[in-house]
Amino acid sequence: MNSFFKYFTDIFYAVKSLLTGMKVTGRYFFSPWEIVTQQYPENRKTLKMYDRFKGEVIMPHNEHNEHRCTGCGICETACPNGSIEILQAKIDMPDGKKKRIIDKHIYHLDMCTFCGLCIKSCPSEAIVWGQEFEHAVFDRSKLTKILNKPGSSIIKDIVE
């Protein structure tokens, strides 16, 4: 007799537990305003990434096409996987001395792991995180970027 009742209580609790589950999905079905999905390509205009978002490494230039990079190469050594290459050039200073400056700051975005060690180690705060995240390209060579713009020079008051 005991097992006879158990048979029916089992059915009762089973049905009850199933209905509780159906209540959850049923509630979401009838409350479409709870949907959190972002309509991505449509909201491109309004989509704002967080200020600290690590999209890519960029080198900010001011309005005179000047940056803060001295070409010291600390970022190159800090990078764990060789995504940064610094090509230096020597120029003649007005006082006759030769000075090393940055020729090309090459950044391999395809190799970057976004660890942030280059930015943290930069002594002159020349490179920062950019918030651009749409990096998809058809040609992999486009992911190798030269961060200093052509013809740019260093801001005068930066000393090594």
Binding site: Y13, A14, S17, L18, T20, G21, K23, V24, T25, V36, Y50, R52, F53, K54, A78, P80, T113, F114, C115, G116, L117, K120, W129
Partner: protein, 375 residues
């Protein structure tokens, strides 16, 4: 009846057949290959073949400096990236005898726990999906997104953060961090009821998990199964409780232990752990002391020659980091004791005699992350 049972069947060994679950299979959660011997639907034995995503992280560490190692540990158990970072950072701090500011330990503890919740949420999704309830997957991911948003706001990335550095943090937390975390906890306490209604209480789920894949306490200890999977068998192995680090010794939380060690217990452990983690965060979030976000460290970190070991409680179990240093700026030898590898090793033992469907459920409850197994 006896004649029927003793029919002249062929050797049982010949009746077995093998299927390869993986490397591409929906329920192995990655590129794990399980060679399963089956008799009908019953699992006779299985052999895990790992190494499909072996990247040689331990070897790569030998050429990297200590701050550079951090970003490699992210990529082991990517679901508890912060906790992995924490292990290496603490090891370096312990070796150099650096006192980190109190603010850093508080923030690290909170973020570790947030990471643990996010990891368990993803586990819940994938467990639900392994059981065949696809809806779970979306609810879990939806709630995990809230944590990832908090992470993104503070550290700029969602999965692989590299936020801790030896001696402190990369940058200070975002000013909105505390507000957002409190809002999340309020939100998640409501939503976790949905989890219970949808899956925990469900009769199908209970029937499929209760009494399936039983792991005894002795086996858990001898196989080295740690984390929620080990605690479900009654093995008190919570590093946060027994070897406290961070500010765990200043917080009140329970180390929940199971008794049966079946799939359902392992499931419940993680559900409880999410609640406990929220309790820890609630105790700490308003008390983050002011101060610096990193200790003064030398530009080039060199560990004194010797051997060092540090363990933390990652989301899936005990993560150990072992370093042999010869005094240089990179370690001579680095070894990670990853929790998933030990947890996987028990799979053959507990899934013998189960059905294929049970094997999937057991695998889901052990919650393995393949990159952590292969490293």
């Amino acid at each position: 009846m006896k004649e029927i049972i003793n029919l002249p069947v062929k050797n049982v060994e010949e009746e077995e057949y093998h299927i390869n679950m993986g490397p591409q299979h929906p329920s192995t959660h990655g590129v794990l290959r399980l060679v399963v011997s089956l008799q009908g639907e019953i699992v006779k034995s299985l052999k895990p073949h790992c190494g499909y995503i072996h990247r040689g992280i331990e070897k790569m560490c030998e050429k990297d400096t200590y701050p550079q190692i951090i970003h490699l540990t992210d990529r082991m158990d990517y679901l508890s990236a912060h906790i992995n970072n924490h292990a290496v950072c603490m090891l370096v701090e312990k070796a150099l005898e650096v006192e980190v500011p109190e603010r850093v330990t508080y923030i690290r503890t909170i973020i570790d726990e947030l990471n643990r919740i996010a990891s368990h949420q993803l586990w819940w999704c994938s467990f639900g999906m392994d059981m065949g309830g696809l809806t779970c997957f979306f609810y879990g991911l939806r709630d995990r997104e809230k944590i990832l948003d908090i992470f993104e706001e503070s550290f700029g990335s969602r999965l692989l953060h590299s936020y801790y550095t030896p001696g402190g943090l990369m940058m200070d937390i975002h000013p909105d961090f505390q507000k957002n975390v409190k809002a999340f906890i309020k939100y998640f306490r409501k939503k976790i009821k949905d989890y219970d209604d949808l899956l925990t209480g469900n009769i199908i789920m209970q029937l499929r998990t209760k009494g399936v894949g039983i792991l005894t306490k002795e086996d858990a200890i001898s196989y080295g199964v740690t984390g929620p999977s080990g605690r479900a068998s009654g093995f008190a192995c919570d590093v946060r409780k027994h070897h406290p680090y961070g500010v765990y010794d200043k917080t009140e939380f329970k180390e929940i232990l199971g008794t049966k060690g079946d799939t359902f217990e392992r499931y419940m452990m993680r559900m409880h752990e999410m609640l406990e983690s929220m309790k820890i965060i609630e105790q700490l979030i308003d008390n983050i002391p002011a101060g610096d976000y990193k200790a003064k460290m030398k530009a080039v970190i060199k560990l004194p020659a010797g051997e060092y070991f540090q363990r933390v409680e990652a989301a899936r179990g005990e993560l150990g980091v072992y370093v042999v240093s010869d005094g240089n700026k990179s370690p001579y030898r680095m070894k990670f004791r990853s929790p998933n590898f030990s947890n996987l090793s028990v799979l053959d033992h507990i899934s013998r005699g189960c059905k294929i469907a049970d094997l999937v459920a057991i695998g889901g409850s052990l919650d393995y992350v393949i990159p952590d197994i292969d490293r």
